[in-house]
Symmetry: C2
């Protein structure tokens, strides 16, 4: 099966927006055993859009299209597909009713422009959008089945999952069989070192495919497998997974595709323990990550983002002496921050960060990228100092936050 992706929209065409949808779609199709051979992007231009629909219709069997389903004038995907297919746009009553329901449920009035979103090319199958106003549609043009989805990532992802992936098997040219994907999430190796650790995989497991995906600051190692006998395939995948885990060791934090905060949260929940956080250089990112997990209120009690030294002293009780003699970015300060927030919150565990995210504030002795991370529990309080060579402020915040959570993850494992 020849599969392609078409991203539409002037934002992507003109470079105003980086197209992350296409990579996501290619990855999901790859997991489902469909190799994407080509990505395309054109802007909000009716003639160019219609032309590329015709072009892809001639050479591919499957194409996932994103964008251009919104209510505004420059949302042209439906119109272009209709033009390419030589059909007209028709009002889809079910789509209209669903858009109306979307607005009613939110006590908002549907505007006239939203009506346009219910116009689908004649003969196209509506693809429901449970979390937005724009329904998608599936439509054959020439030899190719086009799945047109919204460009808004959460809506696109949901519809790809619910509406596109289940239909792949019934497309002409679909190869029968089963596929498996295993995701091993690691933190602590740079991509090149991770690559070296798993070198030799393809000689050892020639029937499997290995992929490294950098999702800064974590590295995901993926096994893609495809075969006809599910039992045999599972055995092979399991063997490969064990080999990879032996190569990566304790730098693996999940084999189920979880985020670091989900792993830490589950571990806290399982042991009935609670957590508090004192953040300086990470500026709230650890708390934000932790509270992205639904149900985190069961273990996450309190975080203090003490950016100012005075706040470190007054809120957390860090001693003036410590900050004066050793500075804010110091193991002792990190320890006192962790102890302080644990005392204040009554939590079982506390972590703290104090460091220099940049771009300003670095010195010869403590350059940008330096961070001290503290951990306090009823058993002990300690801190560690790290240096990361990333120049960028946001990258530093992420790598500092990840390191703190990883330190906690290992501590929780130890105390089990």
């Amino acid at each position: 099966m020849i599969a392609e992706i078409l991203a539409t929209g002037d934002e992507i065409r003109s470079g105003a927006l980086v197209d992350s949808n296409s990579a996501y779609i290619a990855g999901r199709l790859e997991e489902a055993g469909v190799e994407v051979v080509r990505h395309n992007c054109v802007g909000d231009d009716l003639d160019r859009l219609a032309a590329i629909f015709i072009e892809i219709g001639r050479r591919a069997d499957l194409c996932v299209v994103t964008g251009g389903l919104g209510p505004t004038e420059d949302d042209l995907t439906g119109k272009a597909a209709a033009k390419a297919g030589g059909v007209s746009l028709l009002l889809d009553e079910t789509a209209l009713a669903s858009i109306e329901r979307f607005f009613n449920a939110r006590n908002r009035v549907m505007s006239e422009s939203n009506r346009k979103q219910a116009m689908l090319p004649q003969g196209a199958a509506r693809l429901d959008n449970p979390i937005g106003t724009a329904p998608g549609f599936a439509m054959r043009i020439d030899r190719c089945m086009f799945f047109c989805l919204p460009g808004v990532p959460p809506e696109m992802k949901r519809m790809l999952q619910d509406q596109v992936l289940p239909r792949l098997g019934s497309l002409p040219g679909a190869e029968p069989g089963v596929s498996r994907t295993v995701t091993i999430s690691t933190y602590g190796y740079p991509e090149s070192i991770a690559g070296e650790r798993v070198a030799g995989f393809s000689e050892r497991f020639p029937s499997l495919k290995l992929g490294l995906r950098a999702k800064f600051p974590e590295i995901q190692i993926k096994i893609y497998a495809r075969g006809t006998d599910p039992v045999q395939l599972d055995g092979k995948v399991d063997e490969a997974k064990k080999w990879l885990l032996s190569r990566i060791g304790e730098k693996t934090f999940s084999t189920r595709g979880e985020s670091m905060q989900e792993v830490v949260g589950r571990s806290l929940k399982d042991s009935g323990a609670t957590l508090a956080v004192a953040e300086s250089c990470t500026g709230g990112l650890i708390s934000h990550w932790l509270t992205n997990v639904a149900g985190s209120s069961a273990y996450f009690l309190l975080s203090a983002v003490t950016y100012a030294n005075q706040a470190k002293q007054e809120v957390l009780g860090v001693s003036r002496e410590t900050i004066k003699s050793r500075g804010a970015v110091d193991e002792k300060t990190a320890e006192e921050m962790a102890e302080g927030i644990r005392r204040l919150s009554g939590a079982d565990f506390a972590i703290s960060t104090t460091g220099i995210a940049g771009p300003e504030g670095g010195t010869q002795e403590k350059p940008v990228g330096t961070v001290c991370i503290g951990l306090s529990s009823e058993h002990s309080t300690f801190a560690r100092k790290y240096f990361f060579p990333f120049g960028q402020r946001l990258m530093n915040k992420k790598v500092f936050a990840m390191t703190a959570l990883d330190l906690l993850r290992r501590e929780l494992q130890k105390q089990r």
Copy 2:
């Protein structure tokens, strides 16, 4: 001039890597007055690569190609371009000498595979790479001039700047002229309503192009303009900008492409004021956003993420009575949270959030999506209640955080 971009490589094709190069190149070309009409991507496959070189050669005047210039077997750009152009690869002595120099300067030995990087298609012009081993090349195939650059972003950027942009004016089909882009950032209108507010733009300003970009939860409205007379163009763009601002009103928070936190931060800095935050349902996101701005330590003093009710009482001094009688999600609680964090930090301004991000915790009376936002300054303390119809936890956190910052932005404007 018809311009395109071609990204090559299996990492991008398979979705292992998001292609940010193409957006960068499109943006730089757009600034230089060259509109990119199409992006393409294929993997490391000689036949597919050669075919797309031929295809683009027929329809475009200019194409910037990235990737496939490295030393390994699957780096095929030179070979594919030679095949498409019907020429052979020849050793470029200057390129070879430059690669040798690169290794000598680093006290490393050039490997045999690096020799391959000096093989260029016959008739191609070498493009020097001052910071890496892979030289690029420029080559005409059919009507199109291809500029082939490395995929490594810093090398690509440097060579685009030094080797490609200066050559644009001499290409056939180059249009003389200047271009302008204006970004109006708004918060508070859904995309469809924003679209309706600016309807009529293209009739009023037929020579300009308008684009709406949803960057949840903000909506950016962009003017793209191109002309020959800079003075006339600036006048037209200014007129269009004024008209748009009159249509969007106070929902505009920036006309310079700034984020909400940059606008709030600048406003605080300009008036020498400081800020503290008490977050419940936003879980640290407001603090994270604020501290993403370099230099935010000048005005951001402290944030308390008080997830537990006990923390609201003990850390912020919210009265037990208030929480007991009115609940945690209440205007009174939000007011006491804002007052409490302002007292604790000594900041001039304080904002607070308490609400239900979901998916659990909603009731008939206070459904998921309800939030109370408090604001406290020396002049007054008040809170407002909002309801947002987004089901998703992360979307709710973002829209709650944005609403709190927008409330502060308006208050700061008022107090000026």
